[in-house]
Amino acid sequence: MPWVTRWLREGVLTTRYPARRDDYGAHFRATVTLQTPREQLTAGRARPGPTLAEVAARCPTSAIGEDGAVLSLDRGRCIGCGRCVASRPDVFRFSPELEGAEVAREALVVATSEAPTTEDVEGAMRALHARTRALRRSIHVRHVDAGSDGSEEWEIKALWNPVYDVQRLGIFLTASPRHADVLLVTGAGASGMAGPLRRTYEAMPEPKVVVAVGTEAISGGLVASSYATRGGVGSLVPVDVWVPGSPPSPFAILHGMIRAVDLVVGR
């Protein structure tokens, strides 16, 4: 069978997201979030298992803050190891959400369970997508690896595979920073990439938007204290959108890009 007809027999593979909800996301352990409203946490302390202070001390990236009354969880540090979920499932849970990108770094810190429901986020996404269309031009994306473990690159590349196919949303990779609207930055902020990253950023025309892709890019993750990294890319370039996850799934990155597009439109 020739190549051309091979493609036709498979029918539609491409996700309809963001126009429609894509069920694929449901089994991801994207990041961890808090299970119960804050008031119940105090009561929860009576439950068997380690205390919340002990759980916080055992988090490998110090993502959990516990100072008596307030418990917080920084999704920008969480690598999703699952240790807190395993030891206190009454307090922590994996969140299957795909749409975790935030435009403010502090917004990644959850202190209660009052996160927006998926439906709310979806509504917001439809609105964003409508604005992308209203922009009536394509969005050009540049990627820079500033010390990643390599998995973020696979997940970004996946966006151009036939399943995600972001070209249909008018999002393209560009061969030159001079045509780029959006800069996707991955990695823990390797010192050796500080210069090249800065030069790429500076070569981009205004308006430009920077997306930090992944927990490592947000906070440095497990290599945050290394002699060779800067604890994330935030100290190397001004970041506009933060996409947590170790690594974030293609959907999560897509969501971050859609938020980025919204910023491009707004600037």
């Binding site: 493609w7 390599g150 998995s151 399943v163």
Partner: protein, 500 residues
């Protein structure tokens, strides 16, 4: 239990080191690498040689007041990149090394400059600045110029810089600078909690999480004398082979894209996505993170085994038909045949591993030779070998291995259905040293860990990508520009693993 035996030889003086390694190699061993580790205020130069199922560890200690030792590279050519990295990270100078310019972190270039702190001395949260001015060789002779490519490229790539050196007449030379994305991962193991070390291992090369976690955990298990129960070993195998399929497909996706095979590219990319989704259905993570636990696996698979079988069988049937078709497409084959052929002398000197080595006639595969973990519980895979040493040979090896991996996963799933018992056992790790080798998609991945007071005091990690990439420039015999994408994709190196 890991079948690998770690033998720590009597310490030698650094003058004797090269001789000792040479003797170990003459006994039929292969060179694994040489690494610098902190020994109080001194530096231990640790050479590893693998002979059969024995990993020999030979250490000489260098006094920091006279930080040098006779280089191994003149007698052990495979040490070329290892000694450059050792020099970058410790400041110790291997005397007689033919080309000691910076490789993974260019601070060592300022050697002799008092006040320089090398990565080996860095305290947690101390940031070192890579001294790019120490980089030599921008201009190496009259009429010679260099064309840099990277570290930022168009498309989505891990950062690495290539320099094409040309004098306009001879065949241009390619040089590789991976240092830009160096994260210092190996040093981060020092002082880690043993369980936390697992999360770090999963992120050493993030697309090889299962291979790294397995190697790390196996090294500790072998130190503890613990055998992983059958279910744990089999589930590790299933995930390791799915990881291999995903990686081999990645290489093929890039080759198809480079050759302008748009349909093959799209279809293979779709299959790769399906493999990642299958992994996520089994464990909740697209890269299998969290699967491996000390003593086995974290828990049972989250997907019904029969369903996993069905999905993989369906995928395998489609993939098989497309691969057959691809390997009959002349415009694809023509781009690979003869491209990036590794010269036999270079192969003999450097002993590349994985598909790069097997495509050049080196029939080594740790799954067969060491029959570790789950590989003793299912039928051993055949070692795929080709002789030509070009991109086509590497592609043929990968196709054979994808087929082999599919049947290993199917066998592994059947064996899991019939197995019973715990998924993991407790591991009480004593102080001491443990080692493990697993066959990652790119080749043998080696972990050697030292435990002190219940925490990691040192980890030596030898990635296959680092080992093989020393040969990358030798694969360029012809036109650098037109062959580049094929040679790069056929090496399928993880830059995270090369830069460390």
């Amino acid at each position: 239990m890991n079948t690998l035996r770690l033998v720590t030889e009597e310490p030698v003086t650094t003058e004797e080191l090269a001789e000792a390694v040479h003797t170990a190699l003459a006994d039929g061993g292969t060179f694994v690498g040489v690494f610098g580790v902190p020994r109080g205020s001194a530096v231990g130069v640790v050479a590893l040689v693998l002979g059969g199922a024995t990993l020999r560890r030979i250490e000489g200690v260098v006094d920091r007041r006279s930080p040098k030792y006779p280089a191994l590279t003149p007698t052990v050519p495979g040490a070329l990149w290892y000694e450059r990295a050792l020099h970058d990270l410790t400041g110790v100078v291997p005397i007689g090394h033919p080309r000691l310019d910076p490789l993974v972190f260019p601070v060592g270039g300022q050697e002799g400059d008092l006040g320089v702190r090398f990565p080996i001395d860095a305290a947690p949260n101390e940031r070192l600045v890579p001294a790019t001015r120490a980089l030599s060789g921008q201009v190496v002779g009259e009429g010679v110029f260099t064309i840099p490519y990277g570290p930022v490229r168009s498309g989505v790539f891990e950062s690495v810089e290539y320099l094409v050196e040309t004098d306009g007449e001879d065949i241009p030379r390619l040089r590789v600078r991976p240092y830009h994305k160096h994260r210092g991962v190996a040093a981060q193991f020092r002082g880690q909690d043993l369980e936390d070390g697992l999360w770090l291992a999963e992120r050493y090369e993030g697309t090889l999480s299962v291979a790294h976690a397995t190697a790390y955990a196996s090294a500790l298990e072998s130190l503890a004398g613990v055998e992983v129960p059958p279910r744990g070993a089999l589930l590790r195998l299933v995930h390791a082979e799915l990881e291999r399929i995903a990686h081999h497909l990645d290489s093929m996706i890039r080759l198809s894209e480079g050759a302008g095979q748009a349909v093959a590219y799209a279809r293979l990319a779709w299959y790769r996505e399906r493999v990642l989704r299958l992994i996520a259905s089994l464990c909740g993570h697209r890269f299998g993170r969290g699967v491996v636990a000390l003593g086995g696996v974290a828990g049972p698979p989250q997907l019904d085994l029969a369903e996993a079988r069905r999905e993989l069988s369906d995928l395998a049937a489609r993939l098989e038909s497309d691969l057959e078709r691809l390997m009959l497409t002349p415009s694809f084959l023509d781009r690979l045949r003869g491209t990036g052929a590794l010269p036999p002398e270079a192969v003999a000197k450097h002993q590349p591993v994985g598909p790069v080595g097997r495509g050049s006639g080196i029939a080594a595969d740790a799954r067969v030779q060491l029959a570790y973990g789950g590989y003793r519980l299912v039928a051993a895979p055949a070692v795929a070998v080709r002789q030509a040493g070009d991109a086509l040979a590497r592609q043929q090896v990968r196709i054979d291995e994808v087929r082999g991996s599919i049947s290993l996963v199917l066998d592994g799933l059947s064996a899991l259905r019939d197995a019973s018992g715990p998924w993991r056992v407790g591991v009480d790790v004593p102080d001491g040293q443990g080692a493990a080798i697993v066959e990652a998609p790119q080749g043998a991945l080696v972990y050697l860990v030292e435990v002190n007071g219940g925490r990691l005091s040192e980890a030596i990690v030898r990635t296959a990508s680092f080992h093989n990439f020393a040969l990358f420039s030798s694969a360029f015999q012809g036109d650098i520009l037109t062959d580049f994408v094929f040679i790069e994709a056929s090496f399928d190196a993880s830059m995270a693993g090369v830069a460390g």
